[in-house]
């Protein structure tokens, strides 16, 4: 079942210039993308820095303002972007976010109790005792001791902080969690811990994830379906298998060829392959992008797989 549907989302930032600071141009951070997230699945949004993946995530929960487009929930009956602030809040609690940097996303002056209770205080009326109990259960669920409610963020390691961030996101039993590069600031072994944990709670709470990352190894490990973004548009979308086993768009191929192979015996072969793909990328650029260098619209090539081709 579809949980959330994004239709032709556009986010433009105005570029001002001239004497009166008039709008002279737009930066098209997100330029017309559409995708669906089903219940219980992990949808991966991949791309290089500056491709608009983070902007997309932030727009879905209202941290950025969309220029146009729709974000549909409740079987397509409600468009989040057209709601007034008050009405939006009703749905806002179903979507939570895990941020990239666990060092800057937790308020250093607040205790863990206040950090995790903040969303609860916004949406539910609980007595202080109930609230504390709820926070303690959440802490236990993310593998931190219930006594840590009176500690401050600096007393925790990076992985533990990220789990506090996850506990905060879980506080209101959301349906969808937007995870924006949740592990890129962490060491490999801590990364593994957070990723395992995210998979566990997904099963437990029947969560859906929008998983934003530039690390293709992690995306492959975590995601059911993947959308590849480039210059604010989707160039390819499909199941993990479609994308990794049968990439069609030249940009996807280029991205995949750039992943370092874990086998040292393949290194010459990989370098050769990368050279080929890069040549193909520059030679056939015209076949994959229109006259203005814009990515074409997605076209389905199988039931699950769509590619941006003319």
């Amino acid at each position: 079942m579809t949980l959330l549907k994004v239709e032709d989302l556009k986010v433009y930032y105005p570029v001002r210039g001239g004497f009166f600071r008039n709008v002279v141009d737009y930066v098209k951070a997100v330029d017309g993308i559409s995708f669906e997230i089903h219940e219980g699945e992990t949808y991966g949004l991949v791309g290089e820095s500056g491709c608009g993946k983070t902007t997309t995530g932030r727009t879905l929960i209202g941290l950025n303002k969309a220029t146009s487009g729709k974000v549909l929930v409740q079987n397509g009956e409600v468009d989040l972007l057209s709601l007034r602030r008050k009405e939006f809040y009703k749905y806002r609690k179903d979507i939570q976010m895990i941020f990239q940097d666990p060092y800057s996303s937790l308020n250093a002056r607040k205790r863990v109790l206040d950090i995790i209770a903040e969303p609860i205080r916004n949406f539910e009326k609980l007595s202080p005792t109930e609230e504390r109990q709820k926070v303690q259960t959440l802490l236990e669920r993310v593998g931190l001791s219930p006594e840590s409610i009176y500690k401050y963020p600096h007393e925790f390691s990076g992985g533990q902080r990220q789990r506090i961030g996850i506990a905060r996101a879980l506080a209101l039993n959301p349906k969808l969690i937007i995870a924006d590069e949740p592990v890129s600031a962490l060491d490999v072994s801590v990364q593994a811990q957070v990723l395992n944990f995210m998979k566990d709670i997904q099963k437990e709470f029947k969560l859906s994830y929008l998983f934003i990352s530039h690390d293709l190894g992690i995306i492959r490990h975590m995601c059911d379906r993947i959308g590849i973004m480039y210059k604010g548009r989707l160039v390819e979308e499909g199941t993990t298998e479609d994308i990794y086993e049968n990439p069609q768009h030249i940009y996807t191929k280029r991205l995949l060829s750039a992943i370092p192979d874990i086998d040292p015996d393949n290194r010459e072969k990989n370098q050769e392959f990368r050279k080929q793909v890069n040549e193909e990328f520059s030679n056939n650029y015209k076949n994959y992008f229109d006259a203005e260098g814009k990515v074409f619209d997605l076209r389905p090539i199988s039931e699950t797989h769509s590619v941006a081709l003319p």
Binding site: Q160, K199, G217, R220, A258, P260, N270
Partner: protein, 339 residues
């Protein structure tokens, strides 16, 4: 093929002062880098790999750092050189590529000037010769329009371009030896691939010896000839790259491999190393330093004074615990560290 020894580190211990006491961040490390060879040093943050790199360049704050042992380079012990003699070697014979290209470059200087700065100090060239060389270097590191970039400031360039400039500066005086401290960590995958390819091409051309510091095993597989795995200031495993990837022995190396998604293909659960890297102050000074993170391995498996021992030809492993190490079947109990 690797030639003769270029840099030899013997029993290097680098200690930092915290309060009134010195704590070793690099503990009794011995390594050799040959000509035309890439040695990768792998480990998590806090394991001492960057401290080791900075020790070789002696970029630590000397008031708070104590260094013992030997770093032999070109027949001289770098640790006993005066600052003046050291500066003749640093930047000329040895270059360094830093992690973050934005902070490594001076924002107020044009790119061209920054490249010439190293030449000004070390080579006896006229201005015109230096400019010519700087342009050649920019071309060599794959900058599409050297003339234009020469006059630009760092903020006008993208991350990948900046890292190319940092590399151009490092190789400006054709050093025999380079230290690259996480050269691609701040970059996107496609750019990372380009920079790695570039570094390897340059290394082959110039027959440089490179120490490459990284936490990414994929980068190691793409670049290295030899690998040293560091944990808590010590080298725990040291061998050539193919042996390490085919037959990793030390529990720490094996745990690292099992915790990265690209190596653990199809595996539902990634391995989590229990606990955290002990901080400098709380490092256990006796016994196997990794023992606290594999508590299910029996204490008798560890040595009292673990040493780096050659277990097969050219394959060095510390402590005997690797012989008894296996991943626990029941991973559920070991999932998270409860604090």
């Amino acid at each position: 093929m690797p030639g003769k020894a270029l840099l030899q580190i013997n029993n290097l211990t680098t200690s930092f002062r915290i309060g009134d006491e010195y704590y070793p961040a690099v503990d009794n490390v011995s390594l050799t880098v040959n000509e035309n060879e890439v040695l990768a040093i792998v480990g998590e943050s806090g394991c001492g790999k960057s401290a080791l790199a900075l020790s070789i360049m002696q970029l630590h704050n000397m008031e708070r750092t104590k260094m013992e042992g030997e770093i032999l380079f070109g027949g001289q012990n770098l640790l006993s050189l005066s600052l003046k003699d050291l500066n003749k070697i640093r930047g000329k014979e040895m270059g360094m590529i830093f992690q973050d290209p934005l902070t490594a470059l001076n924002p107020l200087m044009r790119v061209g000037q920054q490249i010439e700065e190293a030449m000004k100090n070390h080579l006896n060239l006229t201005d015109a010769e230096m400019k010519k060389r700087a342009l050649e270097l920019l071309d060599k590191v794959g900058i599409p329009n050297p003339e234009r970039t020469y006059m630009q400031y760092p903020h006008e360039l993208s991350g990948g371009m900046r890292q190319r400039i940092v590399i151009a500066i490092a190789i400006a005086c054709e050093p025999k030896f380079l230290i690259a401290d996480e050269p691609t960590t701040a970059l996107d995958v496609t750019i990372q691939a380009q920079i790695l390819d570039l570094m390897r091409d340059l290394q082959k051309q110039m027959k440089t010896g490179i120490i490459m510091i990284t936490h990414d095993l994929g980068v190691v597989a793409e670049m290295a000839d030899k690998v040293a795995v560091m944990y808590a200031g010590e080298i725990v495993e040291y061998t050539d790259v193919r042996t390490l990837f085919k037959n990793p022995l030390h529990p720490y190396t094996r745990s690292l491999f099992n915790s990265i998604p690209s190596a653990a293909k199809g595996q539902e659960k990634l391995h989590v190393i229990q606990g955290i890297v002990p901080s400098l102050k709380n490092l256990p000074r006796t016994g196997c330093r990794f023992s606290s993170r594999i508590p299910w391995v029996d204490a008798s498996a560890h040595e009292a004074h673990p040493e780096l021992r050659e277990v097969e030809k050219g394959h060095y492993v510390r402590c005997t615990c690797y012989q008894h190490f296996e991943f626990p079947e029941d991973a559920e109990d070991l999932k998270y560290d409860i604090t």
